[in-house]
């Protein structure tokens, strides 16, 4: 067993088992991630699959029995979800629970959790060549609720709308849950067919992170996946296509505070340019002493929040802010003025050094969290970079090597692709 390290092995055609062992944790987290191309026709029927699987399996055919089993496994959490990463659709089911060392009755927790996860993903409940009708109906309603509830968190909603505006008809504009209309069309049979297709064709990434012995889980997964018929058709990564002119949209909803989101496109040609883009985004708006925070929020009091982050999956820098409706124009101008400052090199060595110091803390904290470690390595695997799978410390070193000139070049290279503004009733029409 490796110490505090990442290891990965192929256990079947297009199926990989990765493990990160670290004895400081009291828990283990195992996830099965099915990766396919994101497409409008399949988004909803794929998105519903993890939720239906989570309700029961042949060894635990009743949802309540399954939940009791999880409860007795010290409240182990079993959950599923759909996410997008660029043009990829990632369907995940994960289980997390405490380790044997702290179990009240000394149960072999890692093996038990692995077995249950395997049962849930590979041995679902089937009736009439479909998933159980009742479960499908419930999860269909939940999926529709999820799609409709995306508007509840206005900050996230506005960001999603901006991404959709930017990418127009391409798969990157799609939400990972699909649309209400496509969710309504899901049947027990269509969802089961989608599931079969996922198991047969998806690239499958299994991740085990924690302090437990992963070997029994690995043996079990190897045995269970060996029995499957597979013909993987993995998603092929393509560079995003960006609009030639800046797109703008204003939407009206009953909100007390407006949300202004700007998306900037980028086309890093290698890992070094990517590190520069990430560092530039952090100097611009990723810290409490960034250009955006200090000027737009603190100095001019234009926004309650104003931040920038780099979205690696879509190769865009997103600026997100909460503004008074009538201050939108002023905030917009100031956000761009601060980017111009970076383009002209108006930032100090100190700003760069301090941003790097703070990102060091962020990189270190990834290694101190089960959840963040799992996400980190899944992202690394999805990127499929030529540099291979990097640890947080390795990425940190790459960022530390970025020069001032490269930061300026990165700021000059980004282009404003989309501007989205969410505003309340009264303010509409004033802009």
């Amino acid at each position: 067993m490796s110490q505090n390290g990442f290891g990965r092995e192929k256990i079947a055609d297009g199926v990989y088992f990765s493990h990160v062992y670290d004895q400081k944790f009291y828990s283990n987290r195992i996830s099965i991630n099915l990766v396919v191309p994101l497409a409008a026709e399949t988004a909803a029927e794929y998105a519903i699959v993890p939720s239906i699987l989570r309700l029961g399996c042949r060894t635990c055919p009743d949802q309540t029995v399954l939940n009791r089993r999880l409860g007795l496994l010290y409240g182990a959490s079993l959950d599923g979800g759909a996410a997008s990463f660029g043009e990829m659709h990632v369907l995940s089911v994960f289980i997390k629970g405490i380790d044997k060392r702290v179990a009240l009755h000394g149960e072999n927790m890692a093996a038990l959790l692995g077995e249950l996860l395997c049962d849930v993903v590979l041995d679902p409940l089937i009736e009439d060549s479909g998933f159980k009708a009742g479960y499908t109906e419930i999860e269909k309603n939940n999926l529709i609720d999820t799609i409709e509830s995306e508007m509840n968190d206005k900050r996230v909603y506005a960001q999603n709308q901006c991404v959709s505006l930017l990418f127009g008809d391409s798969p990157r504009a799609l939400r990972p849950y699909g649309t209400v209309e496509s969710a309504r069309r899901v049947t027990p049979q269509s969802a089961y067919t989608a599931y079969r297709r996922l198991i047969e064709t998806a690239r499958i990434e299994i991740l085990f992170v924690g302090s437990g012995d992963y070997e029994p889980a690995l043996s079990l997964f190897r045995e269970r996946f060996a029995g499957l018929t597979r013909s993987p058709a993995p998603a092929v990564r393509q560079a995003p296509l960006f609009p030639e002119a800046t797109l703008e949209r204003t939407e009206q909803l009953e909100v007390a505070q407006g949300k202004l989101v700007l998306a900037f496109s980028s086309s890093p040609k290698d890992e070094r340019e990517l590190s520069a883009l990430r560092l530039m985004s952090a100097i611009y708006g990723g810290t409490p002493f960034s250009k955006l925070f200090l000027n737009v929020r603190e100095k001019l009091s234009l926004c309650y929040y104003c931040s920038a982050r780099y979205d690696r999956g879509n190769q865009i820098m997103m600026v997100s802010s909460g503004v008074e409706h009538e201050k939108k124009g002023e905030a917009y101008d100031e956000i761009l003025r601060q980017l111009d400052a970076l383009r002209e090199g108006n930032f100090t060595e100190e700003e760069m050094k301090e941003t790097l110091l703070l990102t060091n803390t962020s990189f270190a904290s990834v290694g101190d969290s089960l959840y963040a470690l799992g996400n980190w390595y899944l992202t690394q695997l999805l990127i499929g970079s030529q540099a291979g799978v990097l640890s947080p410390a390795e990425e940190q070193a790459r960022m530390a090597a970025v020069t001032r000139e490269e930061v300026i070049a990165a700021a000059r290279a980004v282009q404003l692709g989309a501007v989205y503004f969410l505003t309340g009733g009264e303010a509409l029409g004033k802009d």
Binding site: F25, Y74, V102, I138, N141, N152, T287, Y304, T361
Partner: protein
């Protein structure tokens, strides 16, 4: 210096009182790269009327002032604390809740330098009318953001229904009107009352040594005079103020919070009882319960449904939260199920499930430096050694739970708060 250890978790921490009067709870954790430090005072939004042994009468302060003070403390005459932390690479923040204000940072290097900043800025207030005025604009924006947040509104509407006079019913950040009454003088009064070191606690977890903490504290902290604080509390009736409240906001599906008002005792008892109440949340409508299944099968609840217990100085309540097309029906079903179980007794299997679930939840908090620092401060302010919180879950018994069920889950002392989609009317009036 007192060493506290847990055989169960193979872990230990030290507790000591520094010469300045500050209580310290220090838990070095092997294998972690980061350290997490919190300096807190048991002062939050519920401390609205108080006096010290030096004051002649009680002072009533505007709602939201504890949170306002937290924002203002980051700034001193020369620069703000974030600018200082920028030199060390620490990720800093602070929060104000009902009954505490905590200043914190996480770092992977320069631990001592960051601790020096933390101890220094929290002990050196600087408030002027000009800086207070500027902050009123920023916090006004924050309050407006909360006004749009259905999760936030549904909870405070519920607390406003459960409690008649207890300030736990008030928004932590206050209102645009209440914060407009805040002045520099008032901030100093609050600061001088609640921010004396004898009243505060420092907790640290992760990658650091006890020696580093003591060296910084010796250098930065002077001895502070002890202040005795008396909080004025109006008598909170046993009953709830209202059984039903609703508001309309831009949501797609109605959201609800269902609350049961528990009987509050001492802070220590409330915190320990809330651990048992968390188990009861599972027994009554947790996802392994028959009721959960019934509600889920009828699409009356979805995966957003969860329950939690909340305890503090003089309050204890339990909530179920989620989205539903028919929140009133969910509310009725939960009340009926609590009454049925109180009458018929808790199913022994459900008890084992609930106990293991909550035990697992508390153990899981030890996976992160943030979780440990947070449990240490909860323990510090409620006078409970941290490992006792885990033991309380591990040692729960069925009779104990049965007793708590009768006491804290009474439908007569419950309320329902609903957020309806804007533009739609309530299906029926209460």
């Amino acid at each position: 210096m007192e060493k506290m250890s847990s055989q169960r978790l193979h872990q230990e921490y030290v507790r000591l009182t520094h010469s300045s009067g500050l209580q310290m709870y220090l838990c070095p954790m092997e294998g972690f790269s980061t350290a997490y430090a919190m300096l807190g005072t048991p002062y939050g939004s519920i401390n609205t009327c108080f006096k010290t042994d030096k004051d002649s009468g009680f002072l009533r302060v505007p709602g939201g002032i504890a949170h306002f003070l937290e924002h203002k403390l980051f700034e001193n005459e020369d620069c703000d604390a974030f600018a200082r932390y920028a030199k060390t690479g620490a990720s800093a923040n602070a929060y104000t809740s009902f009954d505490r204000t905590c200043y914190l940072y996480e770092c992977s290097e320069n631990f001592s330098e960051s601790l020096e900043i933390l101890l220094d800025f929290v002990t050196h207030p600087y408030f002027t009318e000009a800086t207070v005025n500027k902050e009123q604009g920023i916090i006004g924006q924050e309050i407006r953001m909360y006004d749009d947040s259905p999760d936030w509104r549904v909870q405070f509407n519920l607390l406003g229904a459960l409690y008649h006079v207890n300030p736990v019913r008030l928004d932590i950040a206050g209102t645009v009107e209440s914060i407009s009454e805040i002045t520099a003088d008032l901030l100093y009064r609050c600061y001088n009352t609640f921010y004396n070191l004898h009243n505060m606690a420092l907790t640290v977890a992760g990658n650091f040594t006890v020696g580093e903490v003591l060296a910084v504290a010796d250098r930065v902290l002077g001895e502070s005079g002890k202040v005795t604080i008396e909080n004025f509390r109006e008598n909170e009736p046993d009953s709830v103020k209202e059984r039903y409240v609703e508001q309309k906001l831009a949501v797609a599906t109605p959201m609800f919070n269902i609350g049961f008002k528990g009987r509050a005792r001492s802070r220590k008892e409330n915190v320990l009882n809330s651990i048992l109440d968390e188990m009861l949340v599972e027994v009554i409508a947790g996802d392994a319960s028959p009721l959960y299944r019934r509600l889920y099968d009828q699409s009356l609840i979805n995966q957003t449904f969860y329950g939690e217990s909340m305890a503090g100085e003089d309050y204890l309540c339990t909530m179920y939260c989620g989205e539903s097309k028919d929140p009133k029906r969910v509310y009725e079903e939960i009340c009926a199920e609590a009454a049925r179980i109180a009458e018929e007794g808790i199913d022994p299997e459900m008890f084992e499930v609930a106990k293991a679930t909550i035990y697992g939840r508390y153990v899981s908090a030890f996976n992160t430096v943030e979780g440990v620092a947070g449990l240490l401060i909860t323990g510090a302010f409620s006078d409970i050694p941290m490992y006792d919180l885990v033991d309380a879950a591990a040692n729960a018994t069925l009779p104990l739970l049965q007793e708590r069920l009768r006491e804290d889950f009474d439908a007569a002392r419950s309320a329902l708060s609903v957020i309806l989609p804007a533009g739609k009317k309530a299906e029926e009036d209460e």
